[in-house]
């Protein structure tokens, strides 16, 4: 079969074949099935690949995170388990296997006073919207699962359904602290959803379409060898930073992880979950992180396009996943570095800084579009955004009486 694929090149060179290899393989596989079943089988293959790929990525990233945090904290992370039952260590990257076995075999404790049905359904209600969100992400050239007309709206709609599962988990556990953690988590997620959506609106406004494929295609042009990614514009950079911070808050990652802080509220809304349900929550959280990073890459970082025109020979999916890993590494780095924000600091930051700044960003994007191609628009937009940032930052910080910053280093 590989020989047939190699022989039906008809004008495409090796790089294009490599780029489209998964699409070609899928067409070959669908071709084996009788005609009436072909749409169903095609959809099933696209759908089945998403959990496979991203669950594998999840397994890799859990170990990567623990090792990354460990190195930043001047210690080794897990480094013993490579391939089980052998002595090959693989720098500890086989750690997910014993973790998975542990979570599958742990006893599933459900509190007696807990609401059984809702307690059971909460992890399921978390996973379904999170997996649905991957359907509109373009992971390579021609590699979007479903090219919806209102793709970005669909993503945000299913993202909003995640908050419901947080509430179900917190309330059904019949535990004061779980409920408190759930309420905090929902308040945080709702507050940060607005800057998230508003910073995405700037991109939608400039591109003129809600389709993720169109958004990536709009960034697929090169000037002087540099790509037209939206992050290279003033409003795009501000929008990307806002989107990044808001996605940190949406995934409940440090510095916004007060709802699930181990030192404060044990585990927040999933305190009463053990065993496989806890593993499902963990999986759902990481999959949500990947999905929202994927959307950030699509909107601001050019999706599957290469940054420089001399690098376009690389396969598109390699670029997408490389950018995804870079963003995930940034998440891990921030987690290991920054301390946690208090609830009121968190909410002040969302409503009094990020929301006005994202509104100013929309105005700046409009000004950018209507000033045409001139160097003046760079100056105007940058000064607009920077002025708003300075004013809002002064507004947040001028009442703080902070002491002098001192550093203590480990010897």
């Amino acid at each position: 079969m590989m020989l047939e694929i190699a022989l039906e090149l008809d004008g495409r060179n090796m790089f294009e074949t490599l780029d489209q290899i998964f699409v070609t393989l899928k067409h070959q596989a669908v071709g084996f099935v009788p005609d009436a079943w072909q749409p169903l089988v095609s959809a099933l293959i696209s759908v089945a690949l998403i959990p496979l790929v991203f669950a594998t990525l999840f397994a890799f990233v859990t170990v990567f995170e623990r090792k990354g945090i460990g190195r930043i904290q001047n210690r080794y992370g897990p480094n013993r388990v490579g391939i089980p039952l052998t002595k090959i260590r693989l720098c500890g990257f086989g750690q997910f296997i014993p973790d998975g076995i542990k979570s599958l075999t742990k006893e599933d404790i459900v509190p007696r006073a807990a609401d059984q049905v809702v307690h059971f359904l909460a992890p399921v209600v978390l996973l379904i919207p999170v997996l649905l969100a991957y359907a509109v992400l373009p992971m390579g050239r021609n590699m979007t699962a479903v090219d919806l007309d209102a793709g970005v709206l669909f993503f945000f709609a299913v993202g909003g359904a995640v908050e419901l599962s947080v509430f179900m988990a917190g309330w059904s556990s019949h535990n004061k602290y779980s409920l408190l953690g759930a309420m905090r988590a929902i308040a945080q997620m709702i507050s940060y959803e607005i800057p998230l959506i508003l910073s995405a609106v700037t991109v939608i406004m400039i591109v003129g379409s809600l389709k993720t494929v169109d958004i990536v295609a709009a960034q697929n042009h090169y000037t002087f060898g540099l790509a037209h990614w939206f992050v290279f514009t003033p409003w795009g950079l501000a929008g990307f930073i806002l989107f990044f911070i808001a996605s940190l808050a949406e995934s409940n990652r440090t510095p916004f992880d007060l709802p699930e802080a181990e030192s404060e509220i044990i585990a927040g809304y999933f305190t009463e979950y053990s065993g496989f349900k806890f593993a499902l929550f963990f999986l759902g959280e990481y999959l949500g992180m990947f999905a929202i990073n994927g959307l950030g890459i699509t909107l601001f970082l050019g999706g599957w396009t290469a940054p420089f025109s001399f690098l376009t020979w690389g396969p598109s999916y390699v670029w997408f996943f490389a950018k995804l890993m870079a963003l995930v590494f940034a998440f891990i780095w921030i987690r290991a570095t920054l301390p946690r924000l208090r609830m009121d600091q968190l909410m002040n930051f969302a409503w009094k800084f990020m929301l006005p700044l994202s509104l100013v960003n929309i105005v700046a994007a409009g000004v950018w579009h209507f000033m045409g191609h001139s160097p003046l628009r760079w100056v105007v937009c940058t000064s607009l955004i920077f002025g708003a940032y300075a004013i809002l930052g002064w507004g947040l910080m001028h009442n703080q009486k902070l002491g002098k910053r001192t550093y203590h280093f480990a010897d």
């Binding site: 419901l164 509430f167 019949h174 309420m183 379409s209």
Partner: protein
Amino acid sequence: MSPVFLIIAFVTLFAAAAAMSLRNLVHCALSLVVALAGLAALYLQLDAQFVGFAQILVYVGAVAILIVFAVLLTRSDATPNQAILAPGWIVGIAVSAVVFATLGWAALNSTGLPKEMSPAPVATVKNIGDMLMTQYVLPLEVIGLLLTAALIGAVIIAMKEEPLSNSGRSRSDGASLSKKSEPPHVGSYGSEKEGGGV
């Protein structure tokens, strides 16, 4: 009347009936979520993509969460011990049955309904955006104003009032409040702490 439509309609109606008849308010709110999601699926089946996703974004993502918060803030989340139906509920059920009978009869026997099926309309987001900016721009601005007013109004209504120390009025309100009996049903956590075995 495709089987998909029948299944979605059945799920929606069942969830709506459950939302109105369950004892525990949080279960009612969660069944309402299922009903709203079923309605969104119906919109998607009727080729109204934008409306379907907007329904999920607004109703499931925001209104349902609002209802759940209100249930918790009014301490209604425990299963109530008293009757859940207002007195005279039979009349209410009878009235709604009559309403359904009238509407159903009108739908089934009407002669003004279009007979032939028009082809699936093209309702791209671009068309919707064009219409919103040309033909429906006035309702759009009015909706913006309305939402702003609702936002400010809701915050002001639900805000805790500062007790005025120099006027006697709120003092007497506070006194009458404390004289009112403790609600017969204390919040969920307190009463079931011993029996729950958390």
